[in-house]
Symmetry: C2
Subunit: 202 residues, 2 copies
């Protein structure tokens, strides 16, 4: 005895593939979509297709864009001498939301991860080295996620860039704002101690 009709089951299956959506949530979403106005459902379906048709990677920094070169790379007010290296386009968005960074980006589209069979040649390291080699870059900020694979990726990139006269920095590690010392893990706390700064500089 089938519980769902074919097209409904198909939609549940399709929705279940999305990250963080289990079978129960997929069923709930499918019921919601079924109750939507037809135009709304069409609009959702169209948005999914559009994003696949229109968006590709920026030729300069690998950011997502609908043109050849992304908004940030083509912005004359951004400082092209400072490159912030991130793993994925969503990392770029996280940093842009702080509104504090006025340089440009370089997106690796991944990280070195031997477990997943990803080596340095599988991510966009060569083009970053190329940019630095060409000159005109003052600083490369490695804003890569602070975990084992991210640290390995940052170390690898730092070694590749060492021969060139460029400042290589990375984001500070420490306690997140609003955190509680008692619940901080040892590694974070150690990093926070190591990176401590004077409150009244003499």
């Amino acid at each position: 005895m089938k519980l769902y009709s074919d097209s409904f089951e198909k939609l549940i299956n399709e929705l279940s593939r999305l990250p963080g959506i289990g079978p129960k949530t997929a069923q709930r979403l499918a019921f919601f979509i079924l109750k939507m106005q037809k135009e709304e459902a069409e609009s959702l379906a169209f948005a999914i297709q559009e994003v696949k048709n229109k968006i590709h990677y920026c030729k300069v920094c690998n950011n997502l864009t609908e043109s050849d070169i992304c908004n940030i790379c083509s912005d004359q007010n951004r400082n092209k001498e400072i490159i912030c290296v991130v793993e994925e386009p969503n990392d770029l968005i996280a940093i842009e939301k702080t509104r504090g960074f006025r340089g440009v980006y370089h997106i690796l589209l991944g990280r070195i991860s031997p477990m997943d069979g990803l080596g340095p040649e599988d991510i966009k390291i060569d083009s970053l080295v190329g940019k630095v080699k060409k000159g005109g870059i003052r600083e490369v900020i490695l804003a890569i996620n602070p975990n084992v694979e991210g640290e390995a990726t940052a170390l690898y990139i730092a070694k590749q860039l060492k021969p060139f006269s460029v400042k290589i920095t990375r984001l500070a590690h420490g306690l997140p704002m609003g955190a509680d010392l008692e619940y901080a893990d040892e590694v974070t706390l150690t990093r926070a101690m190591e990176g401590r700064s004077e409150m009244f500089s003499t």
Copy 2:
């Protein structure tokens, strides 16, 4: 400065309309869809459109179906003398999953909710009364959610059906399996006491 490209922002907006999907999750899903194979994204978009095009309500019980009459209503092995009344198609699925019920259903497609401006005439009560009036029904089980609006709906339906010679029952209330007495709310516990049954029937 725009963070997202137009089509990407549109997809995030469309996804945010879904229940339980906030802006952060919508962004995560949108990035995932962007990384999908084009065929996979097409397939998801198609499934959304298909479900709207193909599925409608069963003429007999208001269940979701791709034909005129749903699988359950057209199944000769189901007992048509027992009607289980539920609010929504997903309640039907929950009961079907228990594999214990062999009667048929009547789906109200809502409940009486004065707060939302929904009266008895806005849900499928008339057609239920019609079925009972026509005869051949032995029992109507009111499997409506046990909350204020659900109780009011059940009471209203029970009153409507009272003139006819039909048994009207409702689901048992009590402690859920695996529950802890200490954490049960008072109403549930009161109901569980009221509905207590003998362990050794004499």
